[in-house]
Symmetry: C2
Subunit: 409 residues, 2 copies
């Protein structure tokens, strides 16, 4: 029953239990989530069945807990032969029934290359996004619509124009923008595309539009192709709300010619607690990248909606891990981002990331265009090794932003 | 800004916060998850936009907590005009960004008829399932394969045959059965269908097969149609792992002629905690039914993997609520079910439910066929107002089951 390590998915679970129960519990998982039982099989059949059997790979006590219990990490491996190329299979096998089995949290997942290869991963990746958006050697800047719902197309176009006048690379829809009462996604893509071209004649820079991809699953692929044809800059997809396999279909499709921008909506329902659910870095980093997220939004460490430092580091690792067979993804830390934070963002995220701002653009005292300019100026400053204060001497928008929000938090 | 109550989705959140913060927090949700902002809109435009604005419907303090905080339920309404006919829209709007906003749990969801109508609901429902399976006025009996993974088709057929000889109505796949290495779902459906017919010549009863629906999303509908044509008895679907919208597509399709049996795999990742995530009755009851679950599996109150009594009652309410526009769903409480529990099951679930057993069938001292017969005998006994002990006098399988597992727990 020896399996090569790279032929199994390794899942690590954090549990609370009596120490002497851990081995039995781990074995129960390894058998229960694979072949179910060892009994009543003729000897001749054991070999075939054993090739599908889970194995206990390790038990590690993390800390003492109350009532004579311990907190421990249990690692179980599942042969890749048990999976098909779907997240449904992956998640159901490693955390299906088990997710309902008392206090247990999925904290780690190692997926061997042979299985990774069967998932699409990003079609563009960091390099492809940089090429498509014409931005090399600096972070990208993405602006979030202040509001979308209830507005008519001309009002939305006005917002898009103001944002693109600031020189941002991308403008993204609200992820909650589903109503088509006043403007369909197709109409928005066309209108913003034309606006972006007109603005580019003034600014020399084209702003791309990340359109919220909406509608029933059976029409999503056609809509993605159509929006792609019409000139969408990216597809904003509520990955958890739709399901990872739905996103993988988009990433696999050769006629969807735009990057996927993954939104983390609803993911907090899975990662929110400490003792149940699935770690944020798995949901928003590892699985999102495997599904095809070229860019991945997640709560920054700076806002009121936050991920901790360690969760962020783990998430970054998954988006950038070079041992993966997939292209890398661009991290887009979100919430609480203002121009004075740009040097800190560089420190925390390096060069390859997206500066994603809503309030930090629309709240600018001189309006959204100035808000975008302040970010662009801050990024140029860091790129040239200048302090923001120094750069502010030649950028009125940056000066005003620093005055309002400060150079650091 | 008056909206009729039935034109909004009402979501109730349990939060922990300072009491004096609750109103502001609730307003922030109502605005933040709809129109985003009130400022900078010309007066003439306020009316249109206000039709899309969320409203605080109520704040109810549940209990005192530590640090001068309280636990409270906040109810916010979202105009139906903000939604399209997808779970992606529903979940992203009411619990998208919000799921990541600190300690918060979605504990209630009221969906007005106008929006409910845009979701499919069960195609068969309780009455349709009863008609299809030829079972009136008693609970259905469903047997779970002891093991699936790694077995060749003849071995699987042998298991199916043993189970159907017990007279059970349905036999379901393991939800973790994804590998097609030894037998495809199509091959299994055909083989079990023929087996069921042969067995029916002896027993007079046909056993139906709930086949695990697997594969990438873009091929799922075709596969469902094909399995339906070939004679599948039900489609077992990992609803949370695939996504509710994927299931809704199956339920909407006129060429899928079989009931959907919803499996709760991965749902514990969402409902497991107390302070984050989404209540189990919403995930496994309300949303599953809206998506098209004719039958809904959930952890019973009796096993080691359990839902509490209140969660179970709420879940049952959602599956059976007659004020819904959708057909009702059959509850299938699972785990820890053995023949002696049948009277208790009747008490807890009435007549319309599924007796779903794995260990309670395969663990029978005389084998799986006797295990099924014991359940059938127990159900007949209760139906005729007999005690199990009395019925066991004329049913050797039931007598053996009572001897092994007891008349009650
Ligand atoms: Mg917003
Ligand atoms: Mg099983």
């Amino acid at each position: 029953m020896t399996l090569l390590q790279n032929e199994s998915v390794h899942a690590t679970y954090r549990v609370r239990d009596k120490e002497q129960q851990l081995q039995k519990r781990a074995e129960g998982i390894a058998i229960g989530l694979t072949i179910g039982t060892w009994t009543e099989l003729p000897q001749a059949r054991l070999k075939q069945v054993s090739a599908h059997c889970g194995q206990v790979e390790g038990i590690h006590v993390v800390s003492e807990a109350e009532d004579g219990q311990v907190v421990a990490d249990i690692t179980v491996s599942y042969p890749v032969a048990n999976f098909d190329a779907t997240f449904a299979a992956l998640l159901t096998t490693v955390f299906g029934k088990l997710s309902m089995d008392g206090e247990i949290r999925l904290v780690g997942l190692k997926i061997p290359t042979s299985l990774q290869k069967r998932f699409p991963g990003p079609k563009f990746g960091v390099a492809g996004c940089r090429e498509r958006y014409g931005v090399q050697s600096r972070p990208l800047v993405m602006s979030i619509f202040k509001a979308c719902i209830g507005l008519r197309l001309p009002e939305l176009v006005g917002q898009f124009e103001a944002q693109s006048l600031g020189g941002v690379d991308l403008v993204k829809d609200d992820e909650i923008f589903f109503t088509e009462q006043y403007a369909t996604p197709e109409e928005r893509v066309v209108a913003y595309r034309d606006t972006a071209r007109a603005v580019a004649e003034q600014t020399g820079r084209i702003t791309h539009y990340a359109v919220n991809l909406t509608g029933p699953v059976h029409r999503l692929l056609d809509r993605a192709r159509r929006l792609s044809e019409l000139g969408a800059g990216a597809l904003l997809v509520n990955v958890v709300a739709y399901g990872f396999d739905v996103v993988a279909d988009l990433a696999r499709d050769p006629d969807v010619h735009v990057p996927i921008l993954a939104h983390p909506a609803v993911s907090g329902a899975m990662y929110g607690g400490d003792t149940y659910g699935i770690e944020a870095d798995i949901v928003l980093g590892q699985l999102a990248r495997m599904a095809g997220a070229d860019m991945a939004i997640f709560p920054s460490m700076y806002g009121s909606v936050t991920l901790g430092r360690r969760a962020t580091d783990n998430l970054l690792h998954h988006l950038r891990d070079e041992t993966s067979v997939h292209k890398t993804s661009l991290p887009a830390p979100s919430a609480g981002i203002y121009p004075g934070l740009v040097p800190q963002l560089y420190e925390d995220f390096g060069d390859d990331f997206i500066v994603n701002a809503g309030g930090g653009i629309h709240g600018h005292p001189q309006g959204a265009a100035a808000g975008g300019k302040a970010f662009v100026a801050a990024i140029e400053a860091v790129g040239h090794g200048m302090s923001l204060e120094q750069a502010a001497l030649s950028s009125e928008p940056l000066a005003a932003a620093l005055k309002k929000w400060g150079p650091t938090k």
